[in-house]
């Protein structure tokens, strides 16, 4: 036996170990029980190391992972930046296209509204020369363009054609030092001569006496004196006014360049227009308002026109009152009774004092009306009276309001008599007249 064990020692050991494990498995299967001790030892031995590995992994591999994620983020960031750049370019391109379309639409509308016959042209290049402000347009003598024609945009005048070629024309801009055009101020109708200064910023209005009244922000229009530009085209807004030795120095920002100079209109047949009354306040692409004294449809211009001044609004109120009383203006017999304007809405009942003055002259341009003292009541509702609020003093002097934009500045206007201030004594009380 001992010999056999020594001879087959290895095989015996194998059998013992295998049989032992077989018995262990058989025990587990038979009893459906586990060997918790072995598992406990194994788990106790392995899991702490596993936990350490996990901590190490989180702190190292997580960092490495974040690093690679950041590498991807960087590449993604670069990619997104490229996309944003491309989108910006696309956006800029589309904006330019939209702006071009807006300008083209504005030109088209302007062409239909303007009484002058115009021809749309596109600026295709600049002229050579250090200080010259000339551009080439893509319309020439083949399109009917001739030298001396005015070049405008809906915003204002741009220049004049100085040379016409078969396929192109050379336009001298108003900013060129050799440019000159007759202009007129909007408020006081002061005539002057527009001169370029050689740069795009401002132009100069010359030959206006120091005594003339020109205000900053006032608009200048073409006067039509130069036989190039028809009357009534906007030139620009006054940015600075200085008094010189004899003549004023008036600097005007040209309005024709505000929307960018790409498309222009060449005036083939010029028709003079009236100087518009409405001030152009918004820069950019805009249309000249239709002339108020349009001969085609005067009624619509009176009713649907912009009521921008107090006189316009008051006139509209009087007209409504007359129509409510079936009074047709200009068609009633001489002996008919005038409408009762004392029932003007919002007007306080002061008929004895605020009697309307008869019309001074015929026509809408010189129509004069009496403006009652209760003018604010027309715009703002009168708050309910309270016992502590004193009634407003009744007007004693009728105030004559004339539409300043329609009136001729050379005509003498009816002015109110100067109001005498009462003399006060040393106590601030009005002095009583001394008895003779």
């Amino acid at each position: 036996m001992e010999f056999l064990l020594n001879r087959y020692r290895n095989l015996t050991a194998l059998l013992v170990v295998v049989v032992a494990q077989l018995l262990l498995i058989a025990y587990q299967v038979k009893t459906s029980k586990d060997v918790p001790l072995l598992r406990l030892w194994a788990v106790t031995a392995v899991t702490p190391v596993e936990r350490i590995l996990e901590v190490v992994r989180r702190n190292t591999w997580g960092f490495v992972e974040d690093y690679f994620v950041l590498i991807n983020t960087r590449s993604q960031n670069d990619k997104l930046r490229k996309e944003i750049g491309q989108l910006k370019l696309d956006n800029q391109y589309l904006r330019t296209e939209l702006s071009t379309a807006d300008r083209a639409r504005a030109l088209s509308v302007f062409q239909t509204q303007s009484p002058s016959k115009t021809l749309a042209a596109r600026i295709i290049g600049n002229g050579t020369g250090a200080n010259s402000k000339v551009v080439f347009v893509d319309r020439g003598s083949g399109s009917g363009v001739e030298s001396g024609m005015a070049v405008v945009t809906p915003d204002g005048i741009v220049g004049k054609v100085v040379a016409a070629y078969p396929t192109a024309a050379l336009v001298l801009l108003i900013t060129d030092v050799n440019f000159g055009a007759g202009v007129i101020s909007q408020k006081n109708r002061v005539h002057g001569t527009l001169k370029g200064q050689g740069h795009d910023g401002t132009v100069l209005v010359d030959y206006i006496q120091n005594e003339e009244k020109i205000e900053t922000g006032e608009w200048f229009y073409t006067s039509g004196d130069d036989r190039i530009f028809p009357k009534g085209f906007p030139v620009g807004q006054v940015t600075a006014v200085r008094s010189g030795r004899n003549l004023k120095e008036i600097y005007v920002t040209p309005s024709g360049f505000q929307g960018g100079l790409e498309e222009v209109l060449i005036v083939l047949e010029s028709v003079h227009q009236a100087i518009p009354d409405v001030e152009i306040s918004t820069p950019g692409i805009k249309l000249i308002p239709p002339p108020p004294d349009s001969q085609e449809n005067p009624a619509s211009s009176q009713t649907s026109g912009l009521l921008t001044t107090d006189a316009d609004r008051l006139k509209e109120q009087y007209k409504q009152v007359g129509e409510a009383q079936h009074h047709a203006y200009g068609q009633n017999p001489y002996t008919s009774t005038p409408p009762d304007f004392s029932k003007l809405p919002g007007l306080r009942e002061t008929p004895a004092v605020t009697k309307p003055v008869p019309v001074v002259s015929e026509g809408p341009a010189t129509e004069a009306v009496v403006k009652p003292k209760a003018k604010p009541a027309l715009e703002e509702p009168v708050p309910p009276r309270s016992p502590t609020v004193l009634p407003r003093p009744k007007p004693t002097i009728p105030l004559l309001i004339t539409d300043p934009t329609d009136a001729d500045p050379n005509e003498p206007t009816v002015a109110a008599p100067p109001r005498r201030e009462p003399k006060l004594d040393e106590f601030g009380q009005p002095k009583l007249p001394r008895k003779p």
């Binding site: 020692r9 290895n10 050991a13 194998l14 170990v17 295998v18 494990q21 077989l22 262990l24 498995i25 058989a26 587990q28 299967v29 586990d34 060997v35 072995l38 598992r39 030892w41 194994a42 788990v43 031995a45 392995v46 190391v49 596993e50 590995l53």
Partner: protein, 179 residues
């Protein structure tokens, strides 16, 4: 018997040349192998085919060339592996006991430092391990588990390929005898 077969078969002098490992290495290396098996496939599932405890058992048995110690070493590794599984304890133990015993027997007869023989032994013992485990599962536990021969052969090749550099690495941990 030609030269090549002589080189494959270990001579009697080498048969007595038993490699030794430090006790710490004998504990840490299988522990690392088991940790690798239970931890790394969480993040790299394709590495789950690696049976590192089996390769460690093989290497120990092939280099130690002592059947008893090898079968005990294999049994210990197998039981540890069983303890961390949801199977009955002893399944891997029996299989690795047999692997350890047979690998030590082979190591006494062949020159296990030959890479071709290492590759063949790796492939063979992996296939044997999987097949015998499947037999035990069906026979002892009565579980109807399919044996995927194609997958077993493929993974056997992969494990054998991994065994070559792994055995080289483990050879450096051996204590070289002075005699």
């Amino acid at each position: 018997m030609n030269d090549y077969s002589e080189r494959l078969l270990a001579d009697s002098s080498r048969r007595k040349d038993k490699s030794r490992f430090r006790p710490l290495i004998l504990i840490v290396v299988p522990l690392i192998a088991i940790l690798f098996q239970v931890y790394v496939p969480r993040f790299f599932p394709f590495l789950s085919y690696l049976e590192l405890p089996l390769l460690i058992t093989m290497h120990f048995a092939l280099t130690r060339r002592e059947p008893i110690s090898s079968l005990l070493y294999g049994a210990a590794i197998g039981l540890l592996q069983d303890s961390l599984s949801n199977q009955k304890i002893g399944m891997y133990g029996i299989v690795k006991t047999l692997v350890g015993y047979f690998a030590a027997s082979v190591g006494m007869r062949f020159d296990t430092e030959n890479p071709i023989l290492t590759f063949i032994l790796g492939f063979f013992f992996y296939s044997f391990h999987q097949f015998f485990y499947w037999v035990l599962t069906r026979a002892l536990l009565g579980q109807l588990v399919n044996f995927d021969l194609q997958q077993t052969l493929l993974f056997g090749v992969l494990n054998a390929a991994v065994a070559l550099p792994l055995f080289r690495l483990l050879d450096k941990l051996k204590v070289t005898p002075h005699t």
